[in-house]
Structure formats: C-alpha cells, structure tokens
C-alpha cells in the first residue's frame, strides 16, 4: 500500500516533519516494495488552508495513509473524505516511521490531534 510521510527532507533518513499542512515534503512510499517518490510541498507558505491543500496533494498522489506529527481538523476531514487513514505522533526519521507503521506500532487517529489555526487577516 502507498503511504505518505511528512518529511523535512527528500531522503528516507530525513526527519519526520511534525507539521502536516506546512510540511516541507511528502515522501510517498510503497510499503511492499519500498519504492518512493518525494513531493515538495507548495503549501509551506500558504496564507491559509494549508492543511486542506496538502491533504488534496497526498490524496491525488494515491496515498492511503498519512504518517505525521500533528494534523488539524480541516486536513483531517479532507483526508477522511477520501478514506485516507491518519497516523499522527510519528517521530524520528521517515524510514523509522515507516518501519513502526509496518509493525503496527503507530496508532490510527479517528480525529485531528491538534486544533485549527484560524486567522483571517485579509
């Protein structure tokens, strides 16, 4: 299965980016073959709605699960509309997170694990 891991860099030994919406990169990895691609996240500096846009990005990339640090309510509801499973609380390197996921050590979350960052200054 294809999963998306938020990453601070473009390799498997990069650290997991704790932010979902504004993660530097998404590593899209096939857990069966370990083949992966990297998507640079254009939403890093988005004015607002970064989580929603990033969720669409990983959905369009075909991911069926997301491993990240924190995920807010807007991103979570977008992911869940496409039945993408959310595994927050991932730390360490991308490779370590994927390994924990494969061994069933990461817990799936049914809801967001952080609050929305609402601001409307425009």
């Amino acid at each position: 299965m294809k999963i998306a891991v938020t990453s601070t860099g473009k390799t498997l030994d990069s650290q997991v980016d704790p932010r979902f919406g504004r993660a530097a990169c998404f590593v899209i990895i096939d857990t069966d073959t370990s083949d992966f691609t990297v998507i640079e996240n254009e939403n890093v500096a988005a004015a607002g709605g970064a989580g929603i846009s990033s969720a669409k990005l990983v959905i369009d990339a075909g991911a069926q699960a997301v491993l990240t640090g924190n995920c807010g309510p807007n991103a979570q509801s977008t992911l869940s509309a496409a039945s993408v499973k959310l595994y927050p609380g991932a730390t360490g390197t991308v490779e370590q997170a994927v390994e924990l996921f494969k061994r069933g050590k990461l817990n799936e979350s049914a809801g967001p694990n952080v609050q929305a960052h609402i601001s409307m200054d425009s």
Binding site: A46, G48, G49, I52, S53, N74, A81, I118
Partner: protein, 301 residues
C-alpha cells in the same frame, strides 16, 4: 462634491486612548451644533458605548454569504475547488467539502458551478447597533464571538457613513487588515500614542501605514509626563504635527473608569479639544480646497 469629513482615530499600540479621544471629540463637536456620527469600528472589542451611552434604536444582524452545496446536483467536477483561493471549498473524489471559516465570500464557486449545485447561504458574523447619544449619531459594530470576519463587519459599519456629517471612526489597534479597512477613505487620521518606548515603537508602525495609504495625519500624545521624550523627538525629526497633548492626570483616569467624558468635567481639557477641533477644521478646509481644485481641473480638461 461630497460634504463629508471622516476622521479616523487610530494607534499602533492598544490602550493609548483612542476611544477616550474619539468619544470626547464626538461629544464636543456635537455640543457645538455640528452633525456628528460616531462609528465604532473596533468590532472585536467595542467600548465607545460605555462612554457615549447611546440609546439604541435598532440592532441589525450582519451576515456574509458562504457556499451551500446540493449533493444531489453536484457532479464532482472540481471547478469550485480550483477557483477558490483560500481552500474554503474543495472537491475530494465524489465529495465537496466546505470550510466556512476560510471563505472570503468572493462568490466564485457558485458562479462557476456548471451544475448549479452551489447556492449562497448566509452566515451571521455579528451585528450593528444604531442609536443616538445626545446629538451624536451612534453606529457600533460587534463581531459575533468565534467569528473571524472582522474586515467584513467593519466594511458594513462603514456603509453608514453619511454625507453632511462629521464622521468619527474609532479604529481597532494595530496595523493589520482590520485597521487598513477602518482607515480606508478617512480624510484625516489622528494617531494616539503615549510617550513610552512601546508607544513609540507602535507609533512608527502606524505612521508607516498611514503614509503608505497616503492619508493626512497628526499625532495625539496621551499621558504626557510618563516615559521619555523620544516620541516628541521622533515627531519633530519626521516633521509630524502633534495636534494634542493630554497629561498623565489621575483625575482623567478616574473619570474614564467611571465611564464619563473629560470634556464635560474639566474646562482645561475642553480647551485642548477646542484646539484639536481647530486643527481638524484647517485640515477639512485644506481637503475641500483640494477637491475644488480637482473639480476645476477636470472641468478645464
């Protein structure tokens, strides 16, 4: 030519005395027989009514339009999500999701929808209270708790600006979007500050903003006597006119705390507002002269 003069009372720093200056000025001008409006645009924390004590005659709810999607009609084409610049509506597989708090009410999604599946629906963002405080016409905006649509509400409050009036706009503190919205179309801005390093720091930001917006302005220094003389030096160096000074007087604080107007109580401060009004009158005449010249130039060409 529009017979209106809009005076905006702003500041970078909060708590410098915007509302004290705005309400006393409105009250003083009305007592002179001028037609005065007071608009409370500090909609996140309105407090002008505490001092003006208006008799409210109408309360108007304010709403903005946000999209409502009819899932039966939706073909999941995704055009709505493509046009939205704020990710307030997005098409994920066969579902269209909306995020009310991100919507800027641009109407793009319901206009572009080829299936006519999106309709605008109202979202309440607050209310506007109308009334009178003696001879001052009072208009006060109040944002609904939890709403983030400050700018939209300020826009609605400002629609009440009337020709034939002197309009006093109480602006929120800071230099962000709500402030810009409240300052738009002002004919003169009073920047209220205090003579402290904090006051100076935020005054500089506010001066940068009004200069960027090309608005004529003057500075009011409140609580003179505390802090240092850096604000005075800055104004002098920048060639900014200080149009009023109010001292750090315990009696002012006491009257303020009781919700009373200082122009009603202290003759010496009434004099200072009188002087301030003379400044504003000059600014108004300069503006009217400019408008006349512009009209004449237009007629010649």
């Amino acid at each position: 030519m529009k017979d209106r003069f809009v005076i905006a009372i702003a500041s970078g720093k909060g708590g410098t005395g915007k509302t004290t200056v705005a309400t006393n000025l409105a009250h003083y001008l009305a007592a002179l027989g001028q037609k005065v409006q007071y608009l409370d645009c500090d909609v996140e924390e309105p407090n002008g009514q505490i001092f003006l004590k208006p008799k409210i005659t109408a309360t108007c709810p304010v709403s903005i339009d946000i999209p409502h999607v009819d899932a039966q009609k939706c073909t999941a084409c995704g055009r709505c999500g493509e046009i939205c610049q704020y990710n307030a509506i997005i098409c994920i597989k066969e579902h269209v999701l909306t995020f009310d708090e991100l919507c800027h009410s641009c109407a793009g999604c319901w206009r572009i929808c080829p299936a006519d599946a999106i309709r605008p629906r109202p979202l309440n963002i607050g209310e506007i209270e109308l009334g009178s405080a003696g001879d001052v016409h009072f208009v006060g905006g109040r944002l609904r708790i939890g709403s983030v649509r400050t700018v939209s509400l300020i826009k609605e409050v400002k629609k009440y600006i009337q020709d034939g009036h002197l309009t006093i706009v109480d602006v929120p503190p800071g230099t962000s979007c709500p402030v810009v919205e409240a300052l738009k179309d002002a004919d003169f801005v009073l920047l209220v500050t205090e003579p402290t390093p904090f006051g100076l720091n935020d005054l500089k930001l506010a001066v940068g903003l009004v200069r960027e917006m090309k608005l004529p302005f003057g500075v009011v220094i409140n609580r003179c006597g505390i802090g240092n003389d850096e604000v005075e030096k800055y104004c002098k160096a920048q060639n900014i006119e200080i149009v009023m000074r109010l001292p750090d007087d315990r009696r002012i604080a006491e009257e303020y705390s009781s919700g009373r107007m200082i122009v009603n109580i202290f003759a010496e401060y009434r004099k200072r507002f009188e002087k301030l009004c003379e400044h504003l009158q000059t600014a108004k005449e300069q503006l009217y002269e400019k408008r006349r010249l512009r009209i004449r130039r237009k007629n010649i060409s």
